[in-house]
Amino acid sequence: MKPQPIIEFTNFTFKYFTQAEPTLHDINLKIYAGEKILIVGPSGSGKSTLGYCLNGLIPFSYRGEIQGSLKIKGMETRNLNIFNLSKMIGTVLQDSDGQFVGLTVGEDIAFALENDNVARDSMRQRVQEVSRMVDMESWLSSSPFELSGGQKQRTSLAGVMIDDVEILLFDEPLANLDPATGKTAIEIIDDIHKQSGKTIVIIEHRLEDVLHCDVDRVIVINDGRITADMDAHTLVASPILLETGIREPLYVTALKYAGVAITPQMCAGHIETLKTEFSRAALQNWHEHIPAPDVRGNRPSILKMENVAFSYDGNRPVLQNINFDIQEGEMISIVGKNGAGKSTLSKLLCGFEKEDSGRILYRGVDIREKSIKERAEIIGLVMQNPNQMISKPLIYDEVALGLRLRLVSEEEIKLRVEKVLKICGLAPFIDWPISALSYGQKKRVTIASILVLDPQILILDEPTAGQDFRHYTEIMEFLVEINKLGVTVILITHDMHLMLEYTPRAIVLAGGKLIADTSAAVVLTDPRVIREANLKETSLFALSQMAGIEDGTHFVQRFIDYERRLKNR
């Protein structure tokens, strides 16, 4: 007889009061104690809602109508409140900055105990114990600003483990983390699972990254329904990922390109478990037969940095000795871990800050004397969070804003706004209020409101952060279109897929210095660059090694070339 499940959804349906249709339909799901479960699904699939139902934010903070039953440890959750639930399920939220409640590590870990009125001395002792479990005991008095992304994750984890919960729920733990930190985060979760035997539920859409470590089952959610509940090997061998719009692991894509049919027997759920005897010959053959792309002729330089150095306070350099030359019509990415100087670099380009020494040249002319407003007509910057840019209620007004402030006549504004909305696929929404748009559409509005000024260069800060595969593809394909119109596109990112698929060239910053300026294939396979910039080696490289292909970088480059040809870019 099977043991009693620790989490049990039975015919569970949930509808937000603010919405007409249920977000979750007829969910039936059993999770047993000690299991490690991954829940994947595209944005809007209901996977976060499912998480909220588990931890009690539904119906505590988000109201709605519940039908059917959800039992945790045999208790019906509708009879519990968020506080009872928080003693059984600990939730680690996606934004480890935003959820840092305390001012120091120790205080943050203690937060739940403070609310339980635990006396100061026993609280301090318990914090010591728990911080030891996550290796943070020597950081107790540090503030969040002194911590790396991984340490913040450890702190959040300790903050929920202090309650001795039996279930740990991770809501998109990889969002906002650079690739190397994301990898570490998954390893920390795995360690905790192995050591403590707690039940782990991970909600994520980045499948390949979570599958870096073992999971027992993967649950796929789409349109509020569970569409798959199986192990990772079976899942990647099935067509479900494709149908649902979840990115399959990159090495699986490569195998398919090589004409290999994926079967559960190949154990393709994790690159480490993949059995290559089925595919070695096919991969080698495929690799050798991809033609090299046509070499693009040199085009004139559009943006050049010469020996640029910058510091905020005059003694600690944030950028030093930066040299690069971007050609007209390029699509290029700037990568590096948080604090490497990426954002500062974009601020220098837009004139928000002035370089201390060196020169920035636009088509060979120094732009030092140009004001922020003048530079915006050459170099447009799209910020990461669209809410930081949108200041008008109507789409038309928002896009027209830059022109109105430049005193362009209303007739011309109308022409230009209509044109740019058409390019951005927003023409049908021209009279809509912005509040009615999805996140991805808002992002487009911000891009449109910059494009309307007709810049020659577009800089985008993390354009795809927090986007699922479908929206990611949408935004990126849109940027490719813009790029084809002749706009040079610079992407600041730590998304490795983006770099690999869309930008032939990448500039890598680490510690304020430029450590590489080369093709994406090289960046993602060079161990030194990977280490210094907190990146992660692409699984394509590992695949090539397993297939006995000597030059892994070359294999990755061929993959990129093949894909580009396939998508006709």
């Binding site: 931890n55 009690g56 934010l57 505590f60 903070s61 968020i82 506080f83 928080s86 939730t91 939220l93 935003g98 959820q99 409640v101 305390g102 001012l103 120091t104 120790g106 205080e107 203690a110 937060f111 739940a112 105990l113 403070e114 609310n115 339980d116 009125n117 635990v118 006396a119 100061r120 609280m123 301090r124 914090v127 903050g159 929920v160 309650d163 905020y312 306070d313 601020k347 837009c350 928000f352 800050e353 922020i372 407003k373 530079r375 915006a376 447009g380 910057l381 910020m383 969070n385 809410n387 930081q388 840019m389 949108i390 200041s391 008008k392 804003l401 830059g402 402030l405 430049r406 000024l453």
Partner: protein, 278 residues
């Protein structure tokens, strides 16, 4: 003007003042503030002011940290002085009972009494600045909340205040980013624009700022709910400190200053005012 621009933000250092508990500092702040607010004796006020400037030295607070605040308060004090002069130019003579006129302005007589009264009042307000600054800059926001809670303020309200202080630097950074991005779109906020335009344009910054701040609030309040905030009527504080001997000494000193001020008023001045004119 950049990431280092920290108005109102706690700076951690290890000085005798920083080592005091937040509650002690709040009590001392209240005692000393009441002292200068009660007394109109310029000698007492100047003594307290000198004392608190000395404390600022001890706490290693530099003038650059409080410059903006000082400017705002000075503007307030001067406006206040001018307005109160025009409303009651004779108030000084009423208080001190004598009239020593030294000039006339638009038919209003300028008296030494009025001058003395207003100078006293200016110092009185000004002496609160160093006190408040010491408190704000040497007490970390969580300890601040725990000390408010310690004197009986509801802990939810106390926590709200602490979070506001805590997120101030972040919101300032957001503000600056938004400001620059909007400037790139052509926004003009300098004095070149007309007042009404400047007002309308400043909305272009405030609206995105509000929305991005609301995002922040939703995240933090969910995080707090999930970890049991507000489930019971009381809570304990990880950062609270045990009352040490230094704390007792500090409270006693400020209580003595407060009592001394009152005694000076009762026995030496026989009123709240010090009268040099008789």
């Amino acid at each position: 003007m950049n990431a280092k621009m920290k108005l109102f933000s706690y700076n951690s250092a290890n000085t005798p003042i920083h080592r005091l508990s937040g509650l002690t500092k709040l009590i001392c702040f209240l005692f000393l503030t009441f002292a200068v607010m009660y007394s109109y004796d310029i000698r007492v006020i100047l003594a307290v002011m000198l004392f608190s400037i000395l404390l600022m030295r001890v706490a290693m607070i530099r003038f650059s940290q409080i410059r903006v605040m000082v400017i705002y308060v000075l503007i307030f004090i001067i406006t206040n002085a001018v307005i109160s002069f025009f409303f009651s130019p004779e108030f000084g003579t009423t208080i001190y009972g004598t009239k020593n006129e030294f000039a006339r302005l638009f038919g209003i007589s300028l008296t030494y009494e009025q001058l003395f009264y207003q100078v006293t009042k200016m110092f009185k307000y000004a002496s609160v600045i160093p006190l408040g600054m010491i408190f704000l800059l040497t007490t970390n926001p969580s300890e601040f909340a725990s000390s408010l809670n310690g004197i009986g303020v509801n802990y939810k309200a106390a926590y709200a205040v602490a979070l506001t202080l805590r997120y101030f630097p972040d919101i300032q950074r957001d503000y600056r980013d938004i400001y620059l991005a909007q400037q790139a779109r052509g926004l003009e906020l300098s004095s070149k624009a007309k007042f009404i335009d400047r007002f309308k344009n400043s909305l272009l910054i405030v609206i995105p700022l509000i929305f991005s701040t609301l995002d922040r609030i939703e995240v933090i309040s969910n995080a707090m709910d999930l970890r049991g905030f507000s489930k019971s009527k009381t809570r304990t504080w990880y950062t609270s400190r045990r009352f040490s001997r230094q704390d007792v000494i500090a409270v006693v000193i400020s209580a003595l200053i407060f009592i001394a001020t009152i005694l000076v008023s009762i026995f030496i001045n026989q009123s709240r005012f010090y009268n040099p004119f008789i």
